[in-house]
Subunit: 512 residues, 2 copies
């Protein structure tokens, strides 16, 4: 089943819940199950386990595979469960850029870098809310994690990219420019080592033994996302530990609205549809502490006229500083077009409806990658117009005020100075005047959830009593604190591989 | 079996664990008591209750008294417990300004206001992270809450103040310019109505009955803050409900560092010393969900050279826009002096040591309230110098660079324009040149914790299962979501009285 098919199924369930009006508290929909399907927060040890392993990994993204591979390498019997019909979670649709500092490739390309500098960049982007020891663990472990991904897993990184917020080029791109370039290799390696990957197996709640230790989980096998009644209950024992690598909650509307109430179901997500927060909440119900859950990153560059990440982000990000961004309802600009993600997304959310970015033929030809333009024109998310009048008409912008605003923008471009919003106007920008004109609508999508479970640098999950929960580890987007307020591009892969490996290694060391 | 029932089974098991000494597990060790006194996160119903009431209120600030007074007025037997030797919590040292919209006093003074406008201000200040229904409940309930405080409690509000971030003057000041002006009246009213206020009684953990409902608490009576071994255990039954109004966690260094790791013990607080978060954490251990805990407000205007709130904030806030603020290590300005609390505090935290604000005799005489200046000079937090050289020497600022910076600042003042940091230079500001000169060191203090427990507009506490926890209400600073990212000055009183009253009223309606 494709991502889109899954998503449309999910939407159906949501609509059903909405129709039944089963949203009691805070106007929220049930995140996990419907309102009548109450079930206990944690389970006691069952009379009979359906299955037993040493280390049970929940989730099959970068962090999950890294944990399972390390646990297995250390001699533990590791099993991965994945609720979706496909392995890879959000990692498999990730852009495939791995941020790492002081690597061989950087040296070959003459890029001077260090873990100290990477840490500095992470803390600055994170508004210094990062749990410093965690961020440090990622920055200082990134080179080794990249080498392990290459040497042990067999992934190939063939390009060095630059991402905003990094001081230097340190984003190592997989040969297929996708996270699947690493996930596929991890899956092959797991097969080779005999790690069992159970698809369509959803974690429901934790099992706590009589010593208060996480002993395993209750799951549903044969589960068909998002049908919460599908599949059968199964108790899976983890003799050593459970490693939670279940990802973020970008697609969990109810949960994200608790933490950022603006993010209603009017906001789609760039994530795979399984990015819901029920495993995270199950951990909190077992005593785990959550942190910085309200830092939810929106991409301000997505279009409501195409699905997923799409191509409009590529169009938008190359046009800013060359063409204006307007609120169609007022025909006015509203924000510094070259401002950061958060500033722009917040402004669009406040406006409450999609905005328009536009550029003339000079700007578009000069800046936008032809393949992206072509694809956007083909899927209808980017439109082409012979005149500005036709453009204004198409987006229902009052033409008189629109031309006033365009003329004002053009006067700023000529002076290379925007006294209104301080947009960075590039030296080679020209007034928006040469037909044809291109435009796209923008409406933000939820892109990453920085918050999650509190962990220490050993990847142990910390409880509300401030102490590690026995038998429970976590890594990747389900955890919080590594990135603080803002995750930098390409640091997700580093975070997942570094902490996934730590979690797997430590889980394997636990007494059975 | 319901979630709560299941949880209470778990609780029973936990008690077993406790008895058998099977201590360390799953959020079961006390962050509350010393490390050797392991005890369970929640307790089961004891064989014998030491005390019984209908509505048990934890905390004796505005919210606690409001809850108890309403519960009692509705016919319930209400008891307040307070861990400190004095009642009033942080409320009694509050400035006594009560934000309310559309009041009689506003009308008399010709101030046009409305709940809609107050809500708008709250949402804007809150960066739109507010739980809108909660903020709305406060804004729309503020006038009634103020009238209740006056007519029912007997408090007098005699002045209308303006606070930053509000569109109009709506901060109604108690006659003694302190929260004690309301707390004292609430205490008298409580005595009159026969509400028992138990001082030195600390909540330790929640008691959950076999139906999964909060049945009461385990407390320590005769407790002597902060000695966790003082006092004796006592089980207090709440036949109807427990109302948690235990305040914020500004003084809980460990907890605030989880959510904002910058806030080490180098940062003091403007709060009373009992503003620690153990009751909040006890609620989370009983399944309550927390939200926006990382929004911790720092006051950038406090001095390390005096205690508590002090007088330097009054010196600093009147001088900005008239004199420069410098980093003594570089002799340079570093931030827009007239920027908001967060911008300034973040900048000083990043510098990592106290900074200096200064003004000449013209600025200080014109702007600073004489009584504040006198007090600051007397306690040594404000210093007076005959020359700028003496000032630089006193704060260990290199004199050459210092004079360069002063001259630059003075040139901006003359032009009434700061091209560097965009400080708002007031029309009647003059160059810093007329001796004597006055200065004070600034180092931020933790002032308010915006985050806390998730509640709905009925003041019910919401659990990690997204459903209300039976028998548990909360109000005031222990809750989160009302204020979003930033609480506006004077809205704390409104929040506490509005939601305290709702919590008390609803708690009294519960079946015994």
């Amino acid at each position: 089943m494709t991502d889109r098919e899954e998503r449309s199924k999910k939407v159906t369930r949501r609509n059903f819940l909405k129709a039944t009006g089963g949203a009691a508290a805070l106007g929220m929909l049930g995140g996990i199950v419907g309102p009548t399907e109450a079930f206990a927060a944690t389970a006691g040890v069952p009379k009979k386990w359906d299955q037993t392993c040493d280390v049970l990994v929940v989730g099959s993204g970068f962090a999950g595979f890294a944990a399972a591979l390390e646990a297995k390498s250390a001699g533990a019997d590791a099993v991965i469960i994945e609720k979706m019909p496909l392995y890879g979670g959000n990692s498999i649709i990730n852009g495939g850029d791995f941020g790492a500092a002081g690597t061989q490739m950087q040296k070959e390309m003459g890029v001077e870098d260090s873990p100290e500098l990477m840490l500095k960049d992470m803390l600055k982007a994170g508004a210094y809310l990062n749990h410093v020891e965690l961020a440090k663990t990622v920055a200082y472990g990134s080179k080794d994690a990249l080498e392990w991904s290459t040497n042990f897993c067999g992934a190939k990184f063939t390009r060095l990219n630059f991402h905003g917020g990094h001081s230097v080029r340190r984003s190592h791109q997989t040969e297929n420019a996708s996270g699947s370039g690493l996930i596929g290799k991890m899956m092959s390696k797991s097969k080779e080592l005999g790690i069992k990957v159970m698809l369509r197996t959803k974690m429901v709640r934790f099992v706590v033994d009589k010593n208060g230790r996480i002993a395993g989980i209750e799951a549903r096998t044969g589960y068909s996302f998002p049908d919460e009644k599908s599949g059968k209950p199964a108790f899976i024992r983890a003799r050593k530990a459970v490693v939670l690598t279940s990802g973020g909650f970008s697609y969990d509307v109810a949960l994200r609205q608790v933490h950022d109430p603006r993010l209603t179901d009017r906001f789609d997500s760039t994530n795979h549809s399984g990015a819901t927060g029920e495993a995270l909440l199950a951990a909190c119900q077992a005593g785990a502490m959550d942190v910085q859950m309200d830092w939810i990153q929106l991409g301000p560059w997505t279009s409501p006229d195409e699905k997923g990440f799409g191509v409009v982000p590529l169009f938008c990000e190359r046009l800013v500083g060359f063409g204006p961004m307007l609120n169609p309802a007022t025909a006015k600009r509203f924000i510094k077009e070259t401002g950061d993600r958060k500033v722009r997304a917040d402004a669009i959310v406040l406006i409450g409806h999609p905005v328009v970015i536009l550029g003339d033929s000079y700007a578009v030809q000069k800046q936008v990658v032809p393949a992206a333009l072509e694809k956007g024109l083909a899927n209808g998310a980017i439109k082409k117009f012979d005149t500005l009048e036709a453009l204004a008409r198409a987006y229902d912008i009052a033409f008189g005020p629109f031309m006033e605003e365009i003329n004002k923008w053009n006067s700023y471009v000529e002076k290379k100075k925007d006294p209104e919003f301080d947009c960075m106007i590039f030296p080679d920008a020209r007034p928006t005047a040469a037909p044809p004109f291109y435009a796209a609508r923008l409406w933000p999508r939820v892109h990453h959830t920085m918050g999650g479970l509190v962990i220490n640098k050993e990847a142990q999950v910390i409880g509300f009593d401030m102490k590690p929960i026995k038998g429970l580890y976590a890594a990747g987007e389900v955890t919080g604190g590594v990135h603080g307020a803002v995750r930098l591009g390409s640091v997700a892969m580093a975070d997942c591989v570094v902490f996934g490996r730590i979690a797997g290694t430590n889980a394997a060391k636990e007494k059975a």
